[in-house]
């Protein structure tokens, strides 16, 4: 069963390169953009999957980190674009158009936010945890709306995509390559994480927290660390998403996005390494196929989702690769 999942994982990644390469050779930049969107939203889902799939933490507030990543990009780039420093005191902080710097800032700040939100939310569990994570994300949403310096409700446009040393990021296929490499590196990290002592203990705490306490490990610390790692990855995805659209707005903090991230994870299969990527690919394909047929395509999405939850639990990967998540 595990073999099959590995082969499937390879096929998914190959497909994710093949489609944009084909689109590139046949001059379809829009398809490349869609593939980039899959890679970026898949990355956000991979982040969530660490908390949700491995840790069993149903966060309905991951848009918070996605949005912080987006605004990290928006704020830094808008200052650079206007040649106005962010701060002059106590030390001079200038904006930047450099992607690596923006990513670093996005990761650090979404990690800090995850530390704060997680420290509070993880004092509770179950349905409280769901509602509280949702509420904190909503808080940032309203803050972004009511803070006029960075566009308020209207958001901010960044006119030229940020730069990466040695690449022309304005070329869709080159920007896709950046997001794809980041996705693969994160997946590799995630695969290591799941097999590491930390990942093992985290998965154990999901299944039987009392057992984990009995061997002297504190589940709270495990979960908090997982939540922070998860938030950092989703934050990085947010920065990339903002760069993809060259636009940030409070909707990046919106709770629909939190819901969709969960949908990616579940559609693909909870706790599966590539589940979120498969889920994002299905979601975006549906959006464009069904969206072309009907303006009200989300009805079909809703029905499909109901079907997955009520009938095909375990997600698409389970249907193709067999039920059990592989071990050992």
């Amino acid at each position: 069963m595990m073999r099959r999942e590995q082969i499937l994982n390879g096929a998914v990644l190959l497909g994710l390169i093949a489609v944009p390469l084909w689109a590139w050779s046949s001059g379809e930049p829009f398809i490349i953009t869609l593939a980039t969107k899959v890679a970026v939203l898949g990355l956000a889902g991979v982040g969530l999957n660490i908390a949700l799939g491995t840790g069993g933490l149903v966060s309905l507030g991951h848009a918070a980190f996605f949005g912080i990543g987006g605004y990290a990009m928006g704020i830094l780039a808008s200052h650079a674009q206007q040649y106005v420093p962010l701060f002059e005191w106590p030390l001079l902080v200038e904006g930047t158009k450099s992607m690596p710097v923006i990513w670093l800032v996005a990761i650090v700040f979404s990690g800090l936010a995850a530390l704060l939100i997680g420290a509070l939310s993880l004092r509770t569990s179950g349905v409280y945890f769901i509602m509280i994570t949702l509420a904190f994300a909503q808080m940032l949403y309203y803050f972004a709306i009511s803070w006029p310096a960075y566009g308020g409700e209207d958001g901010m446009a960044i006119y030229v995509r940020n730069s990466f040393p040695g690449l022309n990021t304005l070329d869709p296929i080159q920007f896709f390559a950046i997001t794809f490499v980041i996705l693969c590196m994160t997946l590799w990290f995630n695969a290591r994480l799941v097999r590491s002592p930390f990942g093992t203990a985290l998965a154990a705490a999901r299944q039987n927290a009392e057992r984990v306490e009995a061997v002297g490990i504190d589940p709270y610390k495990l979960r908090l660390a997982a939540f922070v790692i998860s938030g950092m990855i989703t934050g990085l995805a947010g920065a990339l998403f903002a760069d993809l659209n060259r636009f940030v707005s409070p909707t990046m903090f919106g709770w629909h996005l939190s819901g969709e991230l969960i949908v990616f994870v579940i559609l693909g299969g909870t706790g599966r390494l590539l589940g979120p990527v498969v889920g994002a690919a299905i979601f975006i394909t549906l959006e464009h196929v069904l969206g072309g047929i009907s303006e009200y395509w989300q009805i079909f999405l809703g029905v499909l989702l109901l079907g997955v939850v009520l009938v095909a639990r375990g997600g698409v990967i389970a249907v193709i690769a067999g039920k059990g998540v592989a071990h050992d």
Binding site: R123, V127, L305
Partner: protein, 305 residues
């Protein structure tokens, strides 16, 4: 800042809080009795508002509109409960979140499909519009007072229902011991449908009442739903008293925060900056309140410890 303005804002806060209570009461009952987290509760709020706007548009009667809101939301509640929700009681919270998220998509897009994307308007009837003069020469819109009155009546009715009636006894029994009341011959699935429909009707009523102040549009239920979650986290899941206290706390904190914080910041900041900072912080105030409650009482003010 005059005392009159302050009293007005307190009344606004009460009105807001009472609305939140109508939403939160249903959510907390459904969670307490069936153990279900229902994200689609906001959709029932929307259903109520649209039903009211449609009936008011057709008949011109505000009372009929309110009745339609209650009825439509309750019927929608019954249908949804029988088709989807009852399959979720034994599932984990993740499945419940997803399935009810799917319901939101269906409800929202379905409503957009039927009514279009433009907001509808529900007018306050003449006999409820206009300001009235309260003791102390305070002018206050009659309609908002009516909302406060209706909300408090519903709250009182709900407390009576829970504490005095046979249905209420069964609801309370359902919260503590499902198997036992099933063993006593109570038809549990009918009880669940009734509780869900009751919560739905309250949400529908809230949507219709608010629909006359704001516009009636797709997605209107979602911000209210999230506020109702904050209320429940503060009040404690499953507690009607907690829902009432939480609602009023959130309503008053939010309304007064938006009025008072800019003034407060204005005492030591330049006026326009004070407005900006004050408004931004006011928008976060109830979440900060929630965080503070969480630190001291992780299960809410009235939650089981």
């Amino acid at each position: 800042m005059t005392i009159i303005l302050l009293i007005e804002q307190v009344l606004n806060g009460l009105q807001f809080g009472v609305m939140l209570f109508l939403m939160a009461a249903g959510l907390t009952l459904v969670f307490g009795v069936m153990g279900l987290i229902n994200l689609a509760h906001g959709s029932l709020y929307m259903v109520g508002a649209f039903a009211a706007a449609a009936v008011a548009g057709a008949t011109g009667s505000f009372l009929l509109a309110m009745a339609a809101a209650l009825g439509a939301a309750a019927i929608a509640g019954v249908i949804v409960e029988m088709l989807v929700i009852r399959r979720l009681y034994d599932r984990d919270h993740l499945d419940q979140v997803l399935a009810t998220f799917a319901l939101i998509l269906i409800f929202s897009e379905g409503t957009r499909w039927i009514f279009g994307s433009f907001p509808l308007y529900l007018n306050i009837p003449p006999y409820l519009s206009g300001p009235i003069t309260l003791p102390g020469d305070i002018q206050y819109p009659l309609y908002r007072l009516v909302i406060i009155g209706v909300g408090l009546l519903v709250a009182a009715g709900l407390f009576l229902l829970i504490s005095r009636t046979r249905l209420g006894i069964r609801i309370r029994a359902g919260e503590s011991d499902r198997e036992m009341i099933a063993a006593l011959g109570v038809n549990i699935s009918v009880l669940y449908t009734i509780v869900f429909a009751l919560g739905a009707a309250l949400a529908g009523l809230a949507g219709a009442l608010v629909g006359a102040i704001q516009s009636v549009q797709v997605g209107m239920g979602e911000p209210v739903l999230i506020l109702a979650f904050v209320v429940i986290v503060i009040g404690g899941i499953g507690s009607i008293t907690g829902a009432l206290v939480g609602s009023l706390l959130v309503g008053l904190t939010d309304t007064l925060g938006r009025t008072l914080l800019p003034v407060l910041f204005g005492t030591f900041m330049e006026a326009s900056a004070a407005t900006t900072v004050g408004a931004a912080i006011a928008s976060m105030l109830i979440y900060i309140l929630m965080a503070v409650v969480l630190i001291f009482r992780p299960t809410g003010l009235y939650g089981a410890r």
